[in-house]
């Protein structure tokens, strides 16, 4: 019997397969189904900075729009019930999930600049979230803004959320940085207890029929794991932080690879959307079988075996490998 137990963000988990944010974890029923299916922890869908700000604006509008401006109308909308609905419903889901589930419930906040929305982290904590995953999701489309400025803004955001709540804070970031490793270290310095590698930016396509941008959701595939695999390998053991690997976890094979590279947990959404929540057990059991077959009796024994700091050289991970591939394509077949 192999021991799959792991620790992530200081939270003890029965195994390293975490259900990441997806429509499956939107409702209490969905969350319970994921737990029943065996998820070690569950990340809830992101609450977006824009959502929080829109909610603020909506609250303001409902309370103030046209109110007491003329004698015949005290206002123009049914009395706003600010105690239910909207983000309150999301908080209620956290509350009820916390009561109903034994596994950690991780709330996700999505924002990229420190502002009023950060205070919402308090609400999330009060609702009982085990941890917060802060998703730094924003295409830095402003060509006048330097990478340095973008990174500074993100770090300020992390610091602000860190200052707002004491619960574990994990930061999900994208790979498109000049020096992802350096920035990962800076995030840890700013207060992140863990990192999630990597975010996938949904890049719009073009619809040739309507000649309009088309944004549809492409689920991730195993071919996409390499970037995260590389960086987990490079960071594991070098940064004193929890590492979660996401993107491309389709079967136990990807779980194994991420763990070997040094991840504390792996996260999956696409595979669960494809195969249903019960796929979690398939991943978990597949991992256990693989470990048993290879003689690993615990996760600790295998985790990080191929992390950069435990390799004799990182060359295979980096440029040499690249050069070899180029040669391979251009030279004689071997």
């Amino acid at each position: 019997m192999v021991d799959l137990a792991t620790t992530w963000l200081g939270l003890p988990l029965a195994h390293p397969v975490v259900a990441s944010a997806s429509p499956l974890s939107r409702s209490l029923d969905g969350i319970r189904r994921l737990e029943d299916a065996g998820a070690a922890a569950i990340v809830l869908p992101s609450i977006y900075e824009e959502e929080i700000e829109a909610e603020d604006a909506l609250t303001l509008a409902l309370v103030e729009e046209g109110s007491w401006t003329q004698p015949e109308a005290a206002g123009y909308f049914p009395t706003a019930d600010t105690e239910t609905g909207g983000l309150e419903a999301r908080l209620e889901t956290i509350r009820r999930a916390r009561e109903a589930c034994a596994v950690p419930i991780v709330a996700s906040l999505n924002g990229s600049a420190p502002a009023g929305w950060v205070s919402f982290a308090h609400e999330i904590e009060a609702a009982g979230a085990s941890a917060i995953e802060l998703n730094l999701y924003r295409v830095p489309a402003n060509i006048d803004e330097s990478g340095e400025a973008v990174e500074r803004r993100w770090l300020e955001t992390v610091s602000a959320v860190r200052a707002a709540v004491p619960i574990p804070l994990s930061v999900k970031l994208g790979p498109w940085l000049s020096s992802p490793g350096h920035f990962a270290g800076a995030l840890v310095g700013a207060g992140a207890d863990g990192l999630v590698l990597f975010n996938r930016f949904y890049q719009p396509d073009i619809d040739l029929a309507t000649l309009t941008p088309k944004s549809d959701l492409e689920l991730s595939s195993p071919y996409e794991i390499r970037q995260a695999l590389l960086w987990i390998s490079l960071l594991a053991g070098r940064l004193n932080t929890s590492l979660a690997a996401t993107t491309g976890v389709e079967s136990h094979v990807e779980v194994v690879k991420y763990l070997l590279a040094g991840a504390d947990v792996t996260m999956t959404a696409s595979a669960l959307l494809r195969h249903g929540p019960d796929h979690i057990a398939t991943l978990r059991d597949g991992l256990a079988d693989w470990m048993a077959g290879r003689g690993f009796d615990s996760l600790a024994a295998m985790r990080g075996r191929l992390a950069a700091d435990r390799l004799e050289t990182t060359e295979p991970l980096l440029r040499a490998q690249y050069a070899e591939m180029l040669v391979g394509y251009g030279g004689e077949p071997r």
Partner: protein
Amino acid sequence: MSAIANTPVTDTMDGNAAVAHVAYRVNEVFAIYPITPSSPMAEHADEWIARGIANVWGTLPSVQEMQSEGGAAGALHGSLQSGALTTTFTASQGLLLMLPNMFKIAGELTPTVFHVAARSLATQALSIFGDHQDVMAVRSTGFAMMGAASVQEAHDLALVAQAATLESRIPFLHFMDGFRTSHEVNKLTLLPDDTMRAMIDEKLIRAHRERALSPAHPVVRGTAHNPDTFFQARETATPFHAAVPVIVQAAMDRLAGLCGRQYRLFQYDGHPEAERVAIAMGSGAEVVRETAARLAADGQKVGALQVLLYRPFSVEHFLAALPATVRGIAVLDRCKEPGGTGEPLYQDVVAAFAQAVANGERTAMPRIFGGRYGLSSKDFHPGMVRAVFDEAAKDKPRNGFTIGIDDDVSGTSLPFDRDFDIEPDATTRALFFGLGSDGTVGANKNSVKMLAEDADRFAQGYFVYDSHKSGAETVSHLRFGHEPVHAPYLIRHADFVACHRFELLRKLDILGPARPGATFLLNAPYTANAVWDHLPRPVQRHIIEKQLRVFVIDATKVAQDLGLGPRVNTILQTCFFAISDIMPRDEAIAAIKASIEKAYGRKGGAVIEKNFAAVDAALAHLHEVTIPVDLTGTDNPPLVPDDAPDFVRTVTGAMMAGRGDAIPVSALPVDGTFPVGTTAFEKRNIAVEVPFWDADLCIQCGQCGIVCPHSVIRAKTYAEDALDTAPDSFRSAPVNARGFPDSRFSLQIYVEDCTGCGICVENCPAISPTDPDHRAIDMVDKRPLVETERKNIAFFETLPQVDRSRVNFANVRGVQFLEPLFEFSGACAGCGETPYVKLISQLFGDRLQIANATGCSSIYGGNLPAHPWRAGADGRGPAWNNSLFEDNAEFGLGYRLAIDKQTEVARHLLAELAADIGDDLVTAILKAPQVTESELAAQRTRVAAMREKLAGRIDDIALNLLALADFLVRRSVWIVGGDGWAYDIGYGGLDHTLAQNRDVNVLVLDTEVYSNTGGQSSKATPLGATAKFASAGKEVPRKDLAMQAIAYGYVYVAQIAMGANSEQALLALREAEAYPGPSLVLAYSHCIAHGFDLRFGMKQQARATAAGYWPLFRYDPTRRRSGENPFRLDSPRPRVKLADFAYRELRYKTLARSDRERADHLMRQAQAVVDERYRTYEDLAARDGSRFQPNWTEV
């Protein structure tokens, strides 16, 4: 309303909430229809139902909004007849529409209580304000009538009435004074549920249910009688009515036993041996009571009698309540009964004494005299009461007097002292002058609540608004102290005055009511050191003479810096508490912050933070002004120019300056007829930013002007040499069309009339190729422009108006040159209705006659002080009237009947006089086509020629023809109103009008909701949108009124949306007008009640059409004659999803926020409805012409 409370608690609320609190607790069904000022009662019920709050018996009541008060009364009657405890809330015209059912309900001895916020009736004019005309008009129905004088009384008597109606079986009308009590915020002690249960005997409820119709014990009710039995049957009810006074007094006594507040049918207060007594009902009685107490304390033998139970009028209780010593009785009626021997209460008092004398119960008649006061919420204050008591001391007091006005026509008015002040010094009185949009009223309501939360403190708030929907001025009257506040009248002597908008100092006598030594808080764009020299001289004089303390803050800038926009409320509220020393400063700040959190809920995050920051910033920016000794300011210029017409200077101007109360009777028109075009004199200057025209970039398309809701963008073309005398600042461009080589084009912005909505800028297609943020019109700061634009406007107005017969009516570019005969209305900034209204004034204005349904369009179109409808330079222009809400189509049809008849007479006379006028001319007039503008111009020329031929004739036949000559030019009748009228209350009449083959044009300004009364659901409200009475999202689709009209076959029907296709809108309006039968045009009108920035109103209209939600089409029966399909679908297939349109609006977003699942469900259904309706239209458009009924309309 919170959870069930069984111990008495105090709270602060207005009369509507206080009454609704009880009515909700002791009823099961509410059948209602919104009407000012009673609407909030039903809205409270709707809200509490949504929150799942049960009545005292644990039942969740239900509310049914009906299509009219007539419908509400019918539904209520049916509900009562089926055994439910049922009530309604209404006022004014609404109560009158219930009249027939009231007779039925009373005749059937059915217990119910109608809760009424008493309001004026529309006579020479409509008024939304309070008096007793409505309740007095229904006094013969057999309903018992109880009137409350205060918020507490209204709360308590609502329960007394409920208890008494169940016991007596006589239905009750329980009323409070509209606005004065319904909207006054005051502290009261709430009746606990236990008290309500204890007051109502459940056996009586069971008895009510047992009397209800049931197949278990069938009966027949509502029969028809013959002469043999009707009379006797009518008399069977007499004992029931006779028993009411004793039952009511017993209920009052029971209530006193339960809560300690004792009421009597006739409440006497004052000197025990009073020689003079004044009698009144409603809030006026409280003024009489308080004044009498003061005069009695001064030694005068006076007293006050309040009539609480007016019907049945118990002579016995009445006489018993009056001191035997009384010699002079003044009876005050808040209504007018022309032609009677006096007003109703007066007649009852006289009759009661006459009976007593006749019966020998009294030996002599006192000197009883009656008079009128307080119509339409005319303030009724202690000075007036003293004048009435003084009159009562005379040997021959003036009977039929009026008090509170200067009746210099009939000489009825009594003189009174405006400054007579009876209020205790311990009561602090504060006045706040602000704008509707700056949050002043909301903040002050909040202040009243905060102050009254202290067990030892009492507070009262009353709020006065002007009639504009944009830039409305508000005055908040706040009193507070350690004694209950019984002062239902405006503050005349203030300890604290705040002016939240600096510009108001130039218009209103804001410091007139300031007491010596009072504190003045001013929001000004100047520092404490600099502000003095900017103050108008009269303001400086008040400050020096009254030795006022003055504090100044630039709250507008503080609010802007904090991202609060125009909302200066929190900042100024904090200043008020800080400098008025009502409560310790820290305590006040904590209380303000707590109230902010309460208002915005726990998720108000950033909003709360901004408001907290405003509280903290307020004190840092507040400074006391050192008062100089010199008057340095200038006197205020007259509000209207000296060369304005006399009426405008003396009457309109006085109203604008807040001096309307002083206008004498003789200055006002006798029949409600007012001159047009008076908004041109208002120059309200409410915009901060206004459009600025870039002549070089402009493509002269007219798209800015056509969407301007306030007609402030005007275009002219003129000969180039006209510019010789133009000011340097006047802008122009060469006309960019071919064939006008020496002509110039100018667009003139009337900046002082602009509301700054920006809708023109968003609709401007001319974007700079080098700067995408710059268009041919941009919004810019107004202040630097005002002086130059005044000169430019003055010059622009000297340029000739483009000849109508040379204008191309077929496109927007051409129509911009037609002068709007509807301008500068008080409609909301960015209003979606007024562009259509303005357009019909441009197209048909000189022969236009409008029937306007009550609603937004009748308020911005017809509310004093000034009127936007105007005449052109030739003196011709739209003639406008508003009959009622419910009868507008019939009213307009009546226009047509009269016009057709008089046209017929004129044509007949013309033929008779053919020999004198000339056969050719007569034939030409009789046979003239009158569709195009040039044809109409030609006909006018012919009629003028005919007039010339008859000039000097004094015989009847010629004079009669001359009197009717105008009918020889085709008149354009337009029936205008909102969806509340067309879909709901006026639908039956509209349907009947469309069913006549008469040439009337109906324009429905479809906002899909009752806009004027605050966003109640109508049958035009779309599926999935929220509205009041549809707070969980409307579950059924909007009525397809267009298809209903199309079904007639011969009605011209169009659906238009200016923002989606202005050319189609223009075409449809012109086709509708040209069609010789009935026409119906449904015009999509974005509205403040949709909940988005109206600057983008036209874009949102375009989305409505792009989503297929509001397809554009025209059904023109005349096309059938040539075999064509009369139905043209003018908008393409849906290109975006309904959600893309809908979720930009609060009315949809709120549901998505509160219940995502339900919102998704309703949105799916709504999308299906949109898809299916579009398919239906598409099918219709694809049919062969022969598949439609033939068109028989004669041309």
